[in-house]
């Protein structure tokens, strides 16, 4: 099956917007990234309302990370999704596909109208990302603990070829309970993969409870540091702080960005509430959410 086609008009707008964000002064860049993030959040709520399924809490916590990566940091071309020298982006917490799809559509990787098919029968937009159908996806995720090893392989390949493209992987915090992450954390540090950046969406909630009540992760920065990573801890909803944290390695080691976030961010009645992991809002709640996200 073929990849979804790009949306040339949206891709052109993306190129222009991303250029402007990277060239403009901090306040303007922050304002622009904030507007895009609000668009993406509205899209997430609409998609999940239409599909009657989704992982809204994590979608809303990871949105600012996604928008900052794609609009503020990474080098990608939505009209050439398999461009050899693109930066690689892996969403290891694949259940937050709605946020990724919304961001990719906003960038023009495919037409925003396609979002209306989210999880509909035979849609390319499965509940978890599929690289065979969706441009901008590097590996199929959904099962947790897979993204960091794959991203490590990407970064190893770039180093082997001596090329400068970078690899970004976004991990859920609960997902760090999977041991495969720590296998990869060791390997990336061992190989000093400075081109690899792992962002932890540290919203402190997993499906059933708080991470610290389930299987404690703290001191999370200490863990990454002890594995040999350069660690940066930021407010995961502060676009400029994120952008700064996502700049390249200063030490020659791989970089772990612990992005402190709020699950359900942007919709007051969902924020930091465990039940909104994958609860679907009713029509009144959708209206209320969209009203809060009016921008």
């Amino acid at each position: 099956m073929a990849l979804l086609p790009a949306d040339p008009a949206a891709a052109a707008a993306y190129r222009e917007t991303a250029r402007r964000i990277r060239e403009s002064a901090a306040p303007q860049a922050a304002a622009e990234l904030g507007r895009i993030a609000t668009d993406v959040r509205r899209s997430i709520v609409t998609m999940i309302d239409r599909a009657g399924l989704g992982h809204i809490g994590g979608d809303l916590s990871v949105t600012d990370i996604l928008v900052t990566c794609f609009y503020g940091v990474m080098s990608v071309d939505p009209e050439r999704p398999r461009w050899e020298h693109r930066d690689r982006f892996v969403l290891s917490k694949g259940h937050c596909a709605a946020a990724l799809y919304s961001t990719l559509a906003h960038c023009g990787f495919f037409a925003p109208a396609e979002l209306e098919t989210f999880m509909a029968p035979l849609s390319a937009l499965n509940g978890h990302p599929n690289r065979v159908r969706v441009p901008g996806i590097e590996t199929n995720t959904g099962a947790l603990g897979h993204g960091l090893p794959v991203a490590t392989g990407c970064a190893l390949a770039a180093r082997l070829d001596g090329v400068p493209w970078r690899t970004f992987v976004v991990l859920g915090d609960g997902e760090l309970q999977e041991g495969s992450n720590w296998e990869a954390a060791m390997a990336a540090a061992h190989h000093e993969l400075a081109g690899l950046t792992a962002v932890v969406d540290r919203n402190r909630l997993q499906q059933g409870a708080r991470t610290e009540e389930t299987n404690r992760l703290d001191s999370l920065a200490g863990k990454w540091h002890s594995f040999g990573w350069e660690v940066r801890e930021v407010d995961g909803h502060d676009h400029l702080a994120l952008r700064q944290a996502l700049a390249g390695s200063a030490t020659g080691r791989p970089v772990a960005v612990i992005a402190n976030t709020i699950k359900g961010k942007g919709v007051s009645f969902m924020e930091d509430r465990v039940e909104w992991h994958h609860k679907v809002p009713d029509p009144a709640q959708v209206r209320a959410a969209l009203a809060e996200l009016a921008g």
Binding site: E84, R88, N130, R131, V132, E138, T139, N140, T141, G142, A143, G145, H146, L148, P149, V150, A151, T152, G153, C154, A155, L156, A157, A158, L160, D161, T167, G179, S180, E183, A184, M186, A187
Partner: protein, 317 residues
């Protein structure tokens, strides 16, 4: 094709390693990934010649397969080399999601499969691997029976552009593949013609099936011996022809009978041309202590055992 008990036998890991080095000299995309198995996968020569194209991730199989998928994403052709029980058992979800479902061109090379590590016990046996990998969509499953097919498998996997699982025998086997034999998806190899019964054998059981056919010939029983270098996709036409043209089919493999060759052939037979079968393999038990040869004989995976199954099929249908 016939085979004798005195014929020279080979550890296919050596053919594998030699061909991989030859391939790597011609194609710089080829890299090796392993799990502290440089020695057991015979990769020392590869490492000496291509130190920067060899990634030993240590004892971390999930990471090993994920890293290979990432390398493939960036245009490399990774050969993941690890003992088959740990490659498939420990990293099965990575094989499914990162490799097969993601359509990553990764070559998974299960070394020392079956009961190659006989005395080390069932933790080190890989008799479940064929059932597991056969259940995964989009993954070609290749089971070489000798050095000829091993070398062909290494080459084919690089050219295919698709994910594949190669099961590289350690148990020493003679060369049995005819010079003009096909090596292609869905293509059986006719190792020997015959009209009474068909034996379909893969991997280490292929030469044993030929020995059984020799013995049965002396009794006046004509046995067709088919070999399936590709367990998936299977040559269903050859299976149906065997079911139609001979009185029954005996399958033989160094694997559990729950889901490997026997199950694949049985599904084709039942669906397309029902007839009698015997499925030889390891029944659903953990093997007792013993070396590889002892355990094959113990489970009836010998020339005698195959011949007995043929006679039983002829007697009872």
């Amino acid at each position: 094709m016939t085979v004798t008990e005195e014929q020279a036998v080979f550890d296919c890991r050596q053919a594998f390693a030699g061909e991989l080095i030859a391939l790597a000299r011609q194609d710089e995309r080829v890299v090796a990934v392993c799990n502290d198995s440089v020695g057991s996968s015979n990769l020392a020569g590869f490492r000496a010649e291509f130190p920067h194209r060899m990634f030993n991730v240590g004892i971390a199989e999930q990471d090993m397969v994920g890293i290979a998928a990432g390398l493939a994403n960036a245009g490399k052709i990774p050969y993941v080399c690890a003992a088959a029980p740990f490659l498939t058992g420990r990293a099965l979800e990575q094989i499914k999601a990162d490799v097969a479902y993601s359509e990553a061109h990764v070559v998974l090379c299960g070394q020392s499969p079956g009961m190659a590590y006989g005395e080390l016990g069932p933790t080190h046996h890989s008799i479940e691997d064929l059932s597991w990998v056969r259940a995964i969509a989009g993954l070609d499953v290749i089971v070489p029976c000798d050095p000829v097919q091993t070398r062909a498998a290494v080459r084919w996997a690089a050219a295919s552009g698709r994910p594949s699982y190669l099961r590289i025998p350690r148990f020493k086997v003679p060369e049995v593949t005819p010079a003009d034999a096909p090596f292609a998806p869905g293509r059986a190899v006719v190792m020997r013609g015959g009209d009474d019964v068909t034996v379909i054998a893969i991997g280490s059981l292929t030469s044993r099936a030929l020995l059984a056919a020799d013995r049965l010939q002396a009794e006046g029983v004509s046995v067709r011996v088919l070999n399936m270098p590709f367990l998936d996709p299977l040559d269903e036409d050859a299976v149906v022809a065997a079911a139609r043209q001979t009185r029954g089919i005996v399958t033989a493999e160094e694997a559990t009978t729950s889901g490997g060759l026997g199950a694949a052939v049985a599904a084709a037979v039942v669906s397309l041309h029902p007839g009698p079968m015997r499925i030889l393999g390891v029944p659903r038990v953990f093997a007792p202590t013993g070396d590889n040869g002892f355990l094959l004989d113990y489970f009836g995976l010998s020339a005698d055992g195959i011949a007995a199954a043929v006679r039983d099929l002829l007697r009872r249908g």
